[in-house]
C-alpha cells in the first residue's frame, strides 16, 4: 500500500532505490523459477532424443504430451482425474470433520482423553498402509476402501493437531469467560473454537497431503480407475510414459487443492490476520 505512487509523489531517493530492489528481487525469483522448469524439461527432452538417456525407462516430455493427448481422445483422462480427486476430497472432508469432531469430544471430556491417549499414540505411530488389506477385505475393493484408506491416514493426525490447538488456549482467556459464569459449551464456542481457526486450517493443510497419499496407496491396492491405478498399471506393462504423465497430473492436482485450502484460510482468518500483521 506504500507503493501507490500517486499519493506519495515525493519518494526519497533511498526509498525509490529500496523499492526498485524489492521489485527486482521479485522478478528475478520468478524468472529463475521458470528457468529451472524450462531447463529441466528441455534437458530431459534433448537427452532422450540424443539417446543419452533411455526414453523407454525415463520417458520424455514429447511422449508425455502425446500420452496426454491419447488419454484425452480415449475420453478416459478426466475420468481418471475425476475419480482420484473425488476420492481425495471425500477422504479429506470426512477426515477433517470427523477428526475435528473427535478432538472436540476429547477436549470436552478429560476422562475420555486420558483413557484414549495410549490408543491414539499407538494408532499414530502405526503405518496405516498396513491396514490396507484389512479394509479391502472388510469393505470390498472399490472407491469406499480407498476413501477409508485416506481417512485412516489423515484422521489421527487431525485429531492430535486440533486437540493440541484446543488445549493450548491461554487458560487466562478461559478464566475470563468463566468469571462471567460461562458453562462448558460457552467456553468452547466463545473462546476455544474461535481461537483455533488457524490450527484447524493447519490440520487441513496437512490433511490435503495425507489424503493424496491415502488415495494413491488405496488405488495401488485395489482400483480399476484413477491416477494411482494408471501409475501401477503403467508400471506393470512397463509404459513409463503413462507413469510419468500420471505423476505430473497428480502434482498439478495436489498443488491446486493445496492452493484451495490457502485461499480458504485467507477468507476465514481475514480479520485476525489483517489486523494482526499490521
Amino acid at each position: 500500500m506504500f507503493m501507490s505512487d500517486k499519493q506519495t509523489p515525493a519518494l526519497s531517493k533511498e526509498r525509490a532505490e529500496y523499492l526498485r530492489k524489492v521489485r527486482f528481487r521479485k522478478y528475478a525469483t520468478l524468472a529463475v523459477r521458470v528457468l529451472i522448469l524450462v531447463v529441466f524439461f528441455a534437458a530431459w527432452e534433448i537427452l532422450a532424443n540424443l539417446k543419452l538417456i533411455d526414453p523407454f525407462i525415463t520417458s520424455q516430455p514429447s511422449r508425455i504430451i502425446r500420452t496426454l493427448g491419447n488419454l484425452y481422445r480415449e475420453g478416459s483422462l478426466f475420468r481418471h482425474i475425476g475419480v482420484t480427486c473425488l476420492e481425495t476430497v471425500a477422504g479429506f472432508l470426512i477426515g477433517t470433520i470427523l477428526g475435528t469432531g473427535i478432538a472436540v469430544l476429547l477436549w470436552w471430556s478429560d476422562f475420555i482423553a486420558r483413557v484414549l491417549e495410549p490408543y491414539l499414540v499407538v494408532l499414530n505411530s502405526l503405518p496405516k498402509i498396513a491396514l490396507g488389506p484389512i479394509f479391502i477385505i472388510w469393505i470390498g475393493p472399490g472407491p469406499m476402501a480407498i476413501i477409508v484408506m485416506a481417512l485412516a491416514i489423515s484422521l489421527i493426525v487431525t485429531i492430535l493437531e486440533v486437540l493440541n490447538g484446543f488445549l493450548s488456549v491461554d487458560p487466562e482467556k478461559i478464566k475470563l469467560v468463566q468469571t462471567f459464569g460461562a458453562n462448558h459449551l460457552q467456553i468452547f464456542t466463545k473462546v476455544v473454537l474461535p481461537a483455533n481457526v488457524s490450527s484447524i486450517i493447519n490440520a487441513l493443510k496437512i490433511n490435503v497431503g495425507l489424503s493424496w497419499v491415502g488415495v494413491i496407496v488405496g488405488e495401488f491396492l485395489v482400483s480399476r480407475a484413477g491416477l494411482g491405478y494408471l501409475i501401477v498399471y503403467g508400471g506393470q506393462v512397463f509404459q513409463l510414459d503413462l507413469v510419468m504423465t500420471s505423476v505430473l497430473i497428480l502434482a498439478v492436482a495436489a498443488a491446486l487443492m493445496y492452493q484451495g485450502v490457502v485461499w480458504l484460510e485467507k477468507k476465514l482468518v481475514k480479520n485476525q490476520q489483517m489486523y494482526g500483521q499490521l
Binding site: D170, E172, K173, K175, L176, V177, Q178, T179, F180, G181, A182, Q186, K190, V191, P194, A195, V197, N271, Q272, Y275, G276, L278
Partner: protein
C-alpha cells in the same frame, strides 16, 4: 459508616496435587465496605490471587467462607466483576463485540444493556473505536476496553488481579490513574491484588498486608492523604506516601 459489602472469614485454601499438599491461604479474615478501594499486598506467589479467585466464586475454599452483600458465595456471581493481568481482548472480535462478551455469556444482551454499553463506550472515549479490532488500539485504550467489558455486566464489586502488571512502567502509571478515575466515577467497590507497594498505597483506602505462603494477614492499614482531589498520581507525590511505603516494606519482610 458504610455497610460491609464483602465479608471474608477465616479463609483457608489447600491445593492438592500428586506431589503433595500446598497450603496457599491460612485463616484470612477481612471486610470491605461499599465504595471502598482495598488492596491486598504480598510477596509474589503468596496466594493473594487465590483469595480473589475464591471471592469471585471460581475456586472453593477448603476452610472459611465469603459473603457478598450478606449472601454466601457459591459459584460465580453477577455481583462480581473480575479484571485479569492482561486485557485478554479477543483478537477475532471488534471492541464492541469484546465489550459485550459478558452480557452475551450471561444471556442478558438486550436493547437496554446494549445502550448501556454504548453509553459507557461514549463516556470513556472508545465509541469511535467500537468497530476496530484490539490490535488497532493502544495499550491504555485496550485496558479501558477491558474495564468496560467488566463494567458492562454492572457488577457491584471489582476484583483486580495484578491488573495492569503486564504493561510497562510508564504506561502502567498512566493506566492506573485512568482506571482509578473510572472506578470512582462509577462508584464501584474494588479489591486490588498486587505485589507493588506503591501501587497499592496510591490507589487504596485500605491496604491489607499479607505474609509469605501460606498467606495470612500481617497488618491492615488505613491510608489517608490530605489531598483535595485524590488520584493515584497525586498520592505518589504526597508527603504521607514515603511513610506508608516504608512501613509496608518492612512488614513485607522481603529477602533477596
Amino acid at each position: 459508616m458504610a455497610e460491609e459489602l464483602v465479608e471474608v472469614r477465616n479463609l483457608g485454601m489447600k491445593y492438592q496435587s500428586p506431589n503433595g499438599e500446598i497450603e496457599a491461604v491460612r485463616d484470612v479474615s477481612f471486610t470491605v465496605r461499599k465504595g471502598e478501594f482495598v488492596s491486598l499486598v504480598g510477596p509474589s506467589g503468596c496466594g493473594k490471587s487465590t483469595i480473589l479467585s475464591i471471592i469471585s466464586g471460581l475456586l472453593k475454599p477448603t476452610a472459611g467462607s465469603v459473603r457478598i452483600g450478606g449472601e454466601w458465595v457459591r459459584g460465580t456471581s453477577e455481583k462480581v466483576g473480575y479484571m485479569l493481568q492482561k486485557d485478554h481482548l479477543f483478537d477475532w472480535r471488534t471492541i464492541y463485540q469484546n465489550v459485550v462478551l459478558g452480557l452475551e455469556v450471561r444471556g442478558t444482551l438486550n436493547r437496554e444493556s446494549r445502550e448501556w454499553v454504548l453509553s459507557l463506550l461514549k463516556t470513556y472515549g472508545l465509541y469511535d473505536f467500537r468497530d476496530k479490532y484490539p490490535n488497532q488500539l493502544s495499550g491504555g485504550m485496550r485496558q479501558r476496553a477491558a474495564l468496560i467489558r467488566t463494567l458492562a455486566v454492572n457488577p457491584e464489586i471489582l476484583l483486580l488481579d495484578e491488573a495492569f502488571s503486564a504493561l510497562d512502567y510508564q504506561m502502567r502509571i498512566a493506566v492506573t490513574d485512568d482506571i482509578y478515575r473510572i472506578i470512582k466515577k462509577e462508584q464501584k467497590t474494588a479489591i486490588l491484588v498486587t505485589h507493588d507497594i506503591a501501587e497499592s498505597i496510591s490507589m487504596s483506602d485500605r491496604v491489607i498486608v499479607l505474609s509469605k505462603r501460606p498467606a495470612t494477614v500481617t497488618a491492615i492499614h488505613d491510608i489517608r492523604f490530605n489531598l483535595k482531589e485524590r488520584t493515584p498520581l497525586a498520592c505518589r507525590e504526597a508527603q504521607e506516601f514515603p511513610g506508608y511505603f516504608n512501613m509496608i516494606w518492612r512488614e513485607l519482610d522481603v529477602h533477596v
